[in-house]
Amino acid sequence: MEKKLSEFEPSESGKVKTVTGEGRIRRRLFDMGITPGASIVMRKKAPFGDPIEVNVRGYELTLRKTEAECVVLDV
């Protein structure tokens, strides 16, 4: 099943399927290791519900929900 990273709840995980978004954001996501095939674990949401913290390639990454919307995962 496909699901956007922005819809994840803490401790859910999945494998990246596609990455969309405007050039700069997309490239930044790639550079930070969110490439197709990478597995991502959702860690937590910030106190105001946004941004979110995820674990990818063994480190902690934070991104906003609008940016997480660009990442589609297989769960």
């Binding site: 405007e22 790639f30 197709p36 519900g49 063994g58 902690e60």
Partner: protein
Amino acid sequence: MKIALIGNPNCGKTTLFNRLTGSTAHVGNWPGVTVEKREGQYKGLKKQTSERIDVVDLPGIYSLSPYTPEEIVSRNFMIDENPDLIINIVDATNLERNLYLTTQVLEADVPVIVALNMMDAVERSGDEIDIKGLEQALGVPTVPISALKGKGIKELMARALDEGKTKRKGASVLASCDCYPLIERIRDTIAKENIANPLFHAAKLVEGDSAECVRFPGIAKSLEEVKPMLGKNEYGDDYEAYVADMRYRYISQYYSPCLKRATHEARLSRSDKADKVLTHRIWAIPIFVLIMFAVFHITFSEDILFLNSWFGVEVTNELFASALMIEPGDVGIPSLGVWLQSLLGWCTGGLIDVSRDGLTAAGYEGTWVEGFLCDGLLSGIDSVLSFVPQVLLLYLFLSILEDTGYMARVAFILDRAFRRFGLSGRAFMPLLMCFGCAVPGIIATKALENEKERRLTIMLSPFFSCGAKLPIWATFAGIMANTYWSGYGDLVVFIMYFMGIAVAIIAAIILKLTALKGDPPPFIMELPAYHRPQFKSTMIHLWDKAKHLLVRTGTVIAVSIIVIWFLSSFGKGGYCDIDDSILGYLGKGLQYLFYPVFAAPNGFATTEASNAYAWRFVVAAFTGLIAKEMVVATLGTLAGVDGDAILEGAASEADQTAFDAMIGSMTPAAMFAYMAFNLFSVPCMAAVGAAMGELKSRKRSWQAIGFWLLTAYVVSFVVFWLGNFNTYMWGMSLAVTLILVTLCALLAWKVVTNFKTKQATAANVGANESALGAAATHDESEVE
């Protein structure tokens, strides 16, 4: 020999740099961008044998993509400045992502050596890395080190110096990909033109890198035609995704197996445990508030832990009190910041007294020589030094929080609240600092990645009422409470702080819609593992800051204080009182300009006398542009009393009455308007100096100054007008408002169109918007 250090942010690059260069390091700037450039010489060589070895610390980056100024600076240095060797620092606790940059660095025709940093942390966690295997896979020397503990650095440099003598041809991890024949063809085409690093350029061109497309428009064009004919790979013709994925795949296939992880339980590190609390949904914010309170308390409190006001602790022992630099009696123990400040003030105050005595003995009393030396030069130095201890202390706390990795968490916690004003969570810390002092606040904007966000934050900085403005609020609030609202003095002070925040929000929105238009910068950020702060590198950083502050900011302040001294001590008749001085005349002349703001006669002031006072308020506001500490002191002097005594609350009763009578001649509306003017106008010359340092452009600094003065004028006008809307003058006020609003709108429109033309010109070059941002900064000719 020239060595460059390259690596991800938070990989310990700066620690290694400090280890290598020690005291020879100095911090400058890359031309045209606000990115710090650190250079130094390797100090570990035996003197007689050596040629000089220069070490350059490139900014921390995740990739050599062309989007941020940091990335552009690093890549230009790598491919155009021919370093003899690149040391690629890799955080061994985070191999995969760190090696992604390595795969790009390896494509350049430069000798590369990989320094596997933080090996101590790897060993502690029980993980193991097969160094030999990794070295073989990478094809370049790989040395395990711990920059923090100073381990492995000798070996690293020994191998680095050997490696630097050789030549190396770039190699790509893309060699096994379908697109490699294409890369090779482009590489050969570029090589024929005798351009260095052909493989690097070729790989980037295939990625569709915008900066390369500008550099090689011909190749880029034919590539666009060739790509669709190559047949689809699994990404269609999306080569950017394809190349990034191929790099990561190569890493997980060939490099990652060299890492043997310990069992999963051991991997819930201390950092994760700390984060359980520090970014907890409920506890995160209270803990943050507590930490911030502690920072400010240690820096600014005159009554540490509220021992005096809450528990009645008094310092009565004279010796103890004099060691604390306070008068014995019903007072609290001062905090570290306040104590340091008084200590320094005591030294410079002593210096002034000694000079004054000496000059009196030499018969110069009351002449301009005494005035220049004591009131001009020495008090200039005094006021420069007086704020240094607290600024540095704030800065020290800031860099500790930054070093430990907590600052990234603050950005994470608060991003949501700041986003709607066009700022990210990262802007919070600098703005908060401004409540203490705008200078460290402005310096702290360095941590902001995005140029526009940095400018916006600097422009908003004075609106967060700083410590030096508090005496102004206190003075006016005291008089207002006496005359109008008995017992509500603290409310007046609160209103000023609140007004500052409210205007900052409105100004941020307006600037965002006009001059600083653009998409919000992406907020895709690593949360680095927590580290213990490093005493040595923090101190090196602090020393840099102190020098910077004293030299740049100091000269600006000292010069302006001497100028103000001259203007206020000389008039037609030579050396004279401030009343007859040039400044006095300026005030009398320019007071008309301030009529709509706070100084209007008739109907606006409570007494006839205030008409006569009007120019004095104007003069005091002028001196406030130099330093806000001077406002109350100047008002005192202009009321014919000892201004410093008023500030310290030690004035005689008659003096205090005379002073209160002058301030009290204003209506409450005029008082609020006057305070608003002081709040929003140019904060002080120190802040202007700091802003010039961070904005790196004269034009932008002047824009900021203009923006502050305009905001001050408009806000105090609105306050004054609202406070007087029932008088006959309001019709006139309305007319002036309309004119002002129109002018503002016109100005805003002009700024926007200017901005658009700039964008359009740049767009012709064909690159995307953010690469342009950096390019535009490059082109800016006013850059110092």
